[in-house]
Symmetry: C2
Subunit: 254 residues, 2 copies
């Protein structure tokens, strides 16, 4: 029987840590995307296979929750699986484990498949040959809560960033994970050392490109003092990303 | 007989590439620093050993030259060795090879060892027990030209960047390799795709910290149209880094 989930081994390499001495969120986020790509490729619906039929995967939502940080030299694994397909979306989940098998974090993501010519989303429930229904694990739903409400009632402009060469991925878009850096950069090193980030939520609305001026807006979450809400807008005002950061408790002033 | 140089195997992982589809300079730069750290550690003069005697290594110069780019999935190795010690400096070199043994790039670096209490450099020729003279390879000098002249006659302000959380290393300094990103970001994706970077030179003068406003100044090299010169200054005007980028040929206008 085909193995429906896959698990990939990693180690926290020196010089991939952040100021706090943990595996950086940007390295972690890119490893998560890489595991998604490898698992899809192994089961016939990866980047190359989809490209051959003029389709491409687009990341729509990403939530990462760490119960404990990963430290330099620690061995860990990322297991990933897909539990469902609904219209143009599919949900892919991740569990991070230390070498002793204990869980240190989870992630959940939502993807759509777009037609690269028409830019329209494909109906995933109607793919040829049943698409990737053979790999779905309906008995393993999301291990963490899905993306919560991200509505900024009083958005305050807090930062701007001009999208530059090293922000781009191989497709010429601002890398999905780079936006996480933009949210983290709204805090001081001391704040994040004293209040480690527990959960990051990202909802991707629109691609940004080289030269775009990205404006970061922030608001408090009225229901959770440890959670802050963000919206990143392009020059013209269109929303590129909405996101949230939840710290382990309420941060002190900068 | 003790092996004086060490070679470390790597592979270009998906999601570590830049827009051009090559191993990103930032990932490459951090791998080079990591190999330096591992080699020093194996021979008794690494970070931990130096910390125990209240000293720390400080990177003073770094030059990287790639003859061909590293592509996704390619296996490569980084060999590193130290060829000499002179007063407060030591030179460490690197050769990058593909799986078939062919050379694809080189790097050379200069380091000093500072007393973490007095912040004064140690005289490396007078370390206890001969220091690390046992590991010097005087017969293997730098595989590439040392840092060239970086003197900006007409410095033009081209960019500013406020040092933020994700720029910091574990010591709270702006990561040495992040400055390379600031230089690359003075080009458009098309310019760097059509004219790959051949050589990067960095001279580190002063540490920058969270919140510092970094101003990037640029000038042409009057003797080489493919080479541009940079100076990064802090708010107060002190030079943090001088650097240069040499493209494969003269870039077109942005």
């Amino acid at each position: 029987m085909e193995q429906k989930s896959s698990s990939y081994p990693y180690v926290v390499e020196p010089f991939t840590e952040d100021y706090c001495g943990n595996l950086s969120w940007s390295r972690l986020g890119n490893l998560i995307l890489r595991c998604a790509s490898m698992h899809a490729g192994e089961h016939g619906f990866g980047y190359t296979q989809m490209q051959a039929v003029h389709h491409a995967w687009v990341l729509s939502r990403l939530v990462i929750e760490m119960q404990q940080p990963l430290l330099t030299g620690q061995h860990f694994s990322i297991e990933t699986w897909v539990d469902r397909v609904y219209r143009q979306f599919t949900d892919r989940h991740f569990t991070l484990r230390l070498a002793d098998g204990s869980v240190c974090g989870h992630a959940t993501s939502t993807w759509s498949l777009i037609d690269t010519a028409s830019r329209q989303p494909a109906d995933l429930t109607r793919l040829a040959d049943g698409g990737f229904t053979h790999v779905l694990m309906a008995d393993r739903p999301a291990p963490i809560a899905p993306l919560g409400r991200i509505r900024l009632k009083h958005p305050q402009p807090v930062d701007t960033h001009r999208a530059a060469y090293t922000d781009l991925d191989i497709n010429g878009h601002v890398n999905s994970i780079r936006y996480i850096d933009l949210l983290l950069n709204q805090f001081s090193p001391e704040q994040l050392r004293d209040n480690p980030v527990r959960r990051i939520e990202m909802a991707y609305c629109l691609e940004a490109y080289w030269g775009d001026t990205l404006s970061v807006f922030r608001d408090d979450d009225p229901n959770d003092p440890a959670r802050s809400l963000y919206e990143i807008r392009k020059g013209g005002g269109e929303t590129v990303v909405r996101g949230s950061l939840q710290l382990s408790h309420q941060p002190a002033e900068k």
